[in-house]
Amino acid sequence: MNKNRKPYDDGYFPPVPTGFTIFMRTFLPWQIYRFIVINIKMLGMIRKSHH
């Protein structure tokens, strides 16, 4: 039981991930794809940051 999620407590309001979302966080093919995407984003950001 999650004691945090009582009506009108702080933990009552935030969005919580569905089972599918949690599954995708460690689903290898999706995470390999995200690994590539995040790295490209980071490299782009690093490129923009160097002057």
Binding site: N2, K3, N4, R5, D10, G11, F13, P14, P15, V16, P17, I22, M24, R25, T26, L28, W30, Q31, I32, R34, F35, I38, N39, K41, M42, L43, G44, M45, I46, K48, S49, H50, H51
Partner: protein, 484 residues
Amino acid sequence: MAKVVVLGAGVAGHTAVSFLKQRLGKKHEVIVVTPNSKYNWIPSNIWVGVGIMKPEDVTFELAPVYKKKNITYKQARAVDIHPEGGADEANPYVTIEYTEEGRSGETENVAYDYLINATGPKLNFSATPGLGPEGNSHSVCTWGHAVDAAVALKVSIEKMKKGERQKFLIGTGHGMATCQGAAFEYLFNIESELRQHGVRDMADMTWISNEYELGDFGMGGMHLKRGGYITHSKVFTESLFTERGVRWITRAHVIGVDPGKVCYETLTGEDYEEEFDFAMLIPPFSGVGLKGIDKSGQEITGDMFNPAGFMFVDGNYTAKPYEEWDAADWPRNYQSKGYPNIFAAGIAFAPPHPISKPMKSPAGTPIFPTPPRTGMPSAMIGKAVAMSIADMLEGAKETTHTASMAEMGAACVASAGAGFFKGTAVSMTVFPIIPDYTRFPVYGRDMDYTTGEIGLAGHWIKYILHRLFIWKAKLKFGWSLIPE
């Protein structure tokens, strides 16, 4: 032959030393002064703090690395800067006091042509009574602190295995602390460890911080594109806390840490208490206490450093209300005001103002995060300063490289549990670090490069970065090709 002296061998100082030596070779002398014998890759201390890495995984001896590269290494702490020289010394110099075994307490004046102050922070535990490893809470700010925290965590886990509930309190230990990201990582690594040990249901976990809302991280939070909406990082962070069953207390200034209990004041002026069995609270930072001395021997510390001990550089330090803050206020070349051959890099430079909006309780207690200067900006500043100095030694009239935090982004990968197949981490990028409402009028940031997501990919990135940055810091083959 010119002498370039670098004070400090943390991320900023070590990066500066490395690039200076690469550029200057044998033409000029590069001297590094640091009180520590070991380099510590601080972002990985949280893994030491939960016992899944050993100190030797996040540290290495500096002396062999500097010897290999012909860099003069003095294990000492800087005490005074004499930017105009002294009565018996025409050239500027810095007074250092050795910490090396066998020479402890011995002082020396080290002359310089260029000086980089990269002394980093003093962990100011004394700002809160009872805070810190010598008081009643733990820290992961140094590898030694992290080792002690891991031992205490193990004790708590054993108690839970025997049926004794434990209360964990993680966050910031003062109204003006920064580095919420490190505490955030530690919180979720503990949470993950407790699950691994099968005792998560025996733990009550609470976050306490000086942030106005969760997800502020000392930079006013950030807006992200998620699920077809643009949402504040508060939503993303609250979601994670709720999912992992972590209660949170925000807008809190910890007044004192007693054994098993913190007292805190909130922005609304109320005082509360929170009990704990295990607490890890990040202290506020200050400068290391360097002094400035002029030619006649008079102290000029107040001209060179702000009251917290951080060095004034080329930022706009005019006091002005939050609404008038400008990205252009932030330093670009990190040259000291008044002394163009002195620079400050990393945490040692004085920020012109916070990033999060300043807030005060009715009693006047400031309760808001001070600006974070994490590894990535510290390294980029260290490199920019090193390149400028190298160019100036080769004839450039002024600085040639800039590294404004309002013109650079940062990547932060916050571990939320280790394991090659089951680990997760929050991967965040923000661009620029300092919101620029002229370039990006609505949110102050480029929404294409300000991102956040949680997943296994983030854990891989965090682990790879750990390996890459230790490789880079050891100045092994190809080190300079690894971006900061």
